[in-house]
Symmetry: C2
Subunit: 342 residues, 2 copies
C-alpha cells in the first residue's frame, strides 16, 4: 500500500481524522484508550507524519531561519550550534543562511524565507542596507530575534552585548598599559552595525584620553586570518607603526600574530595585539591572545529559548538581553617599549 495518511489511520482505528490529528499534536485532549488505539495503528502502519501538509494547512511552517554572515567565524558558529540545540530539542528544524556579507544575497535569501512562511527568524546582525526591510519583517510578519548586538528600539527582541562599550573598554585597557599610538582594524565596518559600533567605541576611548588617531590607524579588512596577516604587514611597513593594534576579531588578530612571527617582531615586547571574540584558539596560540570574550553560546541558547516561549504563547516579549563581556588579559598586550609606568 502507498504511504498511509491520517485518513487511513482514522479508518483503521475507527475514529475521525480530527482525532488522529489530535493524537499527533494534542494527545492530552484524547481519552487514554483512544490515544493508545490510534498510536498502535500508527505504529503498525509505519505512519509518517506529513509535515508539508501540516504546515500548509496551518499556514505556517514549523521551520525557523537563522541568518548569519559566515559559519567561518568559529564564534558565530558557536551561537548557531547552541541555538540549534535548543530549538531542535523542541522539534524545530532550522534553515541556516550564510549571507557571506553580501547584501544582495542576503535579500534573496530573505525572500526565499518569506516564501516558506517560517515561524521565526534569527539574525546575527545583517547588512546595513537591509536593516529597514528586516525590521519591517520583524514588526509585521513574524517573530524575529537579533543577536550579537543591542538595539535602541525596545520593540524588537534582542540578545546581545554592547559592542561600543566592549571596544571602549579594551581600548582603555591598552591606554592604561601606556599605549598612545593605538590602531584599530575592523571588518566590514561600513556594512555591519556591530563592527561600526566597535570602531566608534575605540574612537571614543581615544578621544576621551586625549589621544590622536594617526593617519592610517583605522583600517578595514575582510574577515579571515589571511587578511589579518596582510593588515599587520601594512602596519609594520609604516614609518610610524602603532605600539598596539586592536583587531575587531580574533581571526584577524591571530593572522597578525603570525605575520609578526614571520617578520621577527616580538609580541608583546615590540608590539601589543588585542583581539575580539575569544575563540577557543585564542588561549592556545602563543602568546595567549588578549581579547574580549563574547558569550556566543549563551546568546544562542537564550534566543532559542525565548523564541520557543513566544511560539508556544508562553511569553510575549519583546525580550531584551544585554549580556556582559569580559576582557581576557593574556599574553599579547604589555606596556609599550621604553615605557615603565607600572
Amino acid at each position: 500500500m502507498a504511504k498511509p495518511t491520517i485518513v487511513d489511520i482514522a479508518k483503521l482505528a475507527g475514529v475521525s481524522t480530527a482525532t488522529v490529528s489530535r493524537a499527533l499534536r494534542e494527545p492530552h485532549m484524547l481519552a487514554p484508550d483512544t490515544l493508545k488505539r490510534v498510536q498502535d495503528v500508527m505504529a503498525q502502519q509505519h505512519y509518517i507524519y506529513n509535515a508539508m501538509a501540516g504546515d500548509f494547512s496551518r499556514r505556517k511552517s514549523s521551520v525557523l531561519g537563522l541568518f548569519m554572515p559566515t559559519a567561518e567565524s568559529a564564534k558565530i558558529s558557536g551561537t548557531a550550534i547552541a541555538l540549534q540545540e535548543v530549538v531542535g530539542s523542541h522539534g524545530f528544524p532550522i534553515i541556516i543562511s550564510n549571507t557571506l556579507f553580501d547584501e544582495q544575497l542576503e535579500r534573496e535569501q530573505i525572500i526565499k524565507c518569506r516564501e516558506r512562511s517560517l515561524s521565526g527568524m534569527f539574525f546575527v546582525g545583517c547588512m546595513l542596507e537591509n536593516e529597514p526591510m528586516i525590521f519591517n519583517l520583524a514588526k509585521d510578519e513574524l517573530p524575529a530575534f537579533f543577536l550579537w548586538d543591542t538595539l535602541d528600539d525596545t520593540s524588537y527582541n534582542y540578545v546581545g552585548f554592547d559592542n561600543f562599550d566592549a571596544c571602549y573598554r579594551m581600548t582603555r585597557y591598552l591606554i592604561d598599559l601606556g599605549h598612545k599610538d593605538i590602531a584599530f582594524v575592523g571588518a566590514m565596518a561600513q556594512h555591519v552595525r556591530r563592527v561600526y559600533k566597535r570602531q566608534s567605541g575605540y574612537r571614543q576611548a581615544m578621544r576621551d584620553a586625549g589621544l590622536n588617531i594617526h593617519q592610517g590607524y583605522i583600517q578595514d579588512a575582510l574577515p579571515g586570518l589571511e587578511f589579518g596577516k596582510a593588515e599587520m604587514k601594512t602596519f609594520l611597513s609604516m614609518p610610524n607603526p602603532p605600539t598596539a593594534i586592536f583587531f575587531a576579531s580574533d581571526m584577524l588578530a591571530i593572522g597578525a600574530l603570525s605575520a609578526c612571527r614571520e617578520a621577527g617582531i616580538r609580541v608583546p615586547e615590540d608590539i601589543s595585539i588585542a583581539g575580539f571574540d575569544n575563540i577557543e584558539f585564542a588561549e592556545h596560540v602563543y602568546p595567549g591572545l588578549t581579547t574580549v570574550n563574547v558569550p556566543a553560546a549563551e546568546m544562542g541558547r537564550i534566543a532559542g529559548q525565548c523564541m520557543i516561549d513566544i511560539l508556544r504563547h508562553k511569553k510575549r516579549g519583546p525580550f531584551q538581553y544585554k549580556l556582559p563581556v569580559e576582557i581576557m588579559a593574556r599574553g599579547t598586550c604589555a606596556p609599550p617599549k621604553g615605557n615603565c609606568r607600572v
Copy 2:
C-alpha cells in the same frame, strides 16, 4: 486585501491558474506577452509565492538536508559552507542538523527530515549504529550523498577521500623520519567509520613497518582542543612516552601543542606531533602543524553540484569521487631525539 494567491493573479491577468503557475516555474512555456502580463500583475500586487503550498502539492519539499556531527569542526563547516553556496545559488535552502555524535539525536533528526520529504540529503558520515537505516533511506526514499569518506558499495553517491590511506601515509611519514614509538589518537573511532578507518590505516602502517604498538598508544578522545590537551598530558606522564603522536584531527593536535608548551616540552625537538584536516589555523600555530589536508570545500561543492544535477534530471549517478589528500609537512614533526638518520 489579504495576501494575493495565484488565483487572484490569474483573475487580474485574465489567465488561468495553470498559466500563473507556469509563469513561475516554466516561463519558457508561455507566450512572451502573456508572461509579461502575468509578471506585471505579480509585481504590482506584491505577490509572494507560497512555497508550502507548492511543496505540498508537488509532494516533495524543495529543501535539502545536511547531517554533520558538529559545526565546531572548522573543516566540516568548510564543507557545509561550500555546499550551501552551491545549492543556495540554485534556490535550494538547506536544513543543517548537528548530530553532536549522538546516535539517538541523529535518528530523531532523520525522522524529522523524513516527515518533511526533503528532496535530498547529505551526510558527513553518520553514527555507525544508524548506517543501515540511512543506507536504506538512500536506496529507497531520496537522493543522498555521503561525504568525507569513500564507500565500497558502488550504488551510493559519495564524495570523499581514502581515510585509511591518508593515515597510512602520514604514519609512514613519521616512520620514515625515524620514529618507532608512534601513538594515535582518534575521536569516536568506535562510532564513526571514517575515524575507525584512520586508526586502521595507522595500525597497518605500523604493522607493515614491523613496529610495535605499545600499550596505551592508541587512544580515543572526544573532539575538541581541550581533549587533545588532556590526551597529551596523559602521554607525557607515561613511563615510556611515544616519540611521535598522530592526532586524527587538528583540534586535538593543537590542544596537544598547547599542553607541550605548558609542560616545557619542545616540539618537534622532544616530541613530534601530527594532525589531520589542515584547518586554517594549522599553519598559523607555532611551529606550523604537520597535518593531512582534507579538500573540505571541494567535497561540498562537488556534492552540491551533483545533487542539483540529479534533481534537475540532468544526470543520474551514482556519483563517486575519491579526492586526493596531501600531507602538509610543516614544523611539528622531525626525527626523534638521538636519531640522526637523515
